[in-house]
Symmetry: none
């Protein structure tokens, strides 16, 4: 029942634990979460750690807090997402593929939106990303996709994406390698040119490469 202390990221662990608690005890949207003090004791951690985790979830809009009242699962669409996702993930490992696929769906669409909108695809971000790529030869994959999704301007998608990312333990997680550079370069360039389909194709190739590498 206790929480391990993996040296760092304890509050991330607690976020996980919270998800399990919400799921196991079937706390519905709008339902009350155990108090901070109770959680601290149950998980054998300090109250401050619990709070760091709760505040994170609150910024994401997954829980609501009422001073003097308690903490509640958000009475809103998003938290249920958490429930759905945790239920899903905790079931079987084969569903991991679904998580990846779903994430790719969201990513692909964000690319479309950005590439097809003149204003969005002409933001200076892409230019500098490209420059950086050429100079340094590397880019954090997650960061690139996050940037695209943020630009695509759908908060809900961003939230879902972040959640999926946390669960996904994506096979690709490091920096881009040299082999990938041409794909990445093409990818970003096509976006900037507004060549939607080409951009997506480059994205697919890139993704494929990433999966192949790590197997």
């Amino acid at each position: 029942m206790g929480v391990d202390k993996p040296a760092s990221k304890m509050f991330i662990q607690i976020v996980r634990e919270l998800r399990e608690i919400i799921q196991n005890e079937k706390i519905p949207p709008g339902g009350k979460i155990p108090s901070e003090r109770v959680l601290a004791e149950r998980l054998n951690v300090g109250r401050s750690s619990i709070r760091e985790a709760l505040r994170s979830l609150e910024l994401l809009g997954l829980i609501e807090t009422r001073r003097g009242g308690g903490t509640f699962v958000a009475d809103f669409r998003n938290h249920q997402l958490v429930e759905v996702l945790s239920t899903f993930i905790l079931q079987e490992e084969k569903t991991l593929r679904n998580v990846h696929e779903t994430r790719k769906i969201l990513e692909r669409d964000a690319i479309r939106i950005v590439a097809e909108d003149e204003k969005l695809r002409n933001l200076p971000v892409w230019e500098s990303l490209l420059t950086n790529l050429i100079i340094e030869g590397r880019i954090e994959r997650e960061d690139l996709m996050r940037e695209i999704i943020i630009t695509s301007n759908n908060r809900l998608v961003l939230k879902i994406w972040i959640l999926l990312k946390q669960y996904g333990k994506e096979p690709y997680n490091g920096l881009s390698t040299e082999e990938e550079q041409p794909f990445l370069q093409t990818f970003i360039s096509e976006i900037m040119l507004g060549h939607t389909e080409e951009a997506i194709q480059a994205f697919e190739l890139w993704t494929m490469l990433l999966h192949k590498e790590r197997e």
Copy 2:
């Protein structure tokens, strides 16, 4: 320079302050943020409050933390930190539109998957749906989309879709009307023929029609 105490959501205030600090002092991606203790003193708040704000940003992937080293602006180049923060903080309430958009993203992709897979698009379901449409002239929209999504074979997407559907209070919810029939007919036919882009186009037209009707 101090932080107000608006009764609640202090850590949100701190997130705001952090944004300003990063902006005003032009801390670049990868650059170092003042230490927690320094921030606490500068903003006249306790260190724990600072930490709650920082942990939130960390969960969002906007900052990085190195034990013993310090806290840094996330090292992805030229990210739109300011925009992200305002997106989350300003709580723009165009949420409902986001829900619809997200749902459409999932639907569109399901259509692609079905149309591009020979086995899936040749299932007898579509034939009988088409027949029904012609004979009875009506189809439950939700049923059609559900069928497509189920066929696309991603349970996670299905769950998310159902969820979004519940919250969406979609403007279209009834049976199809006569005007829509040609679009629907085209839509299903194109899927069966494996004409992905045409099917999606028909889908878009259909969707557009539905929205127009109810406004």
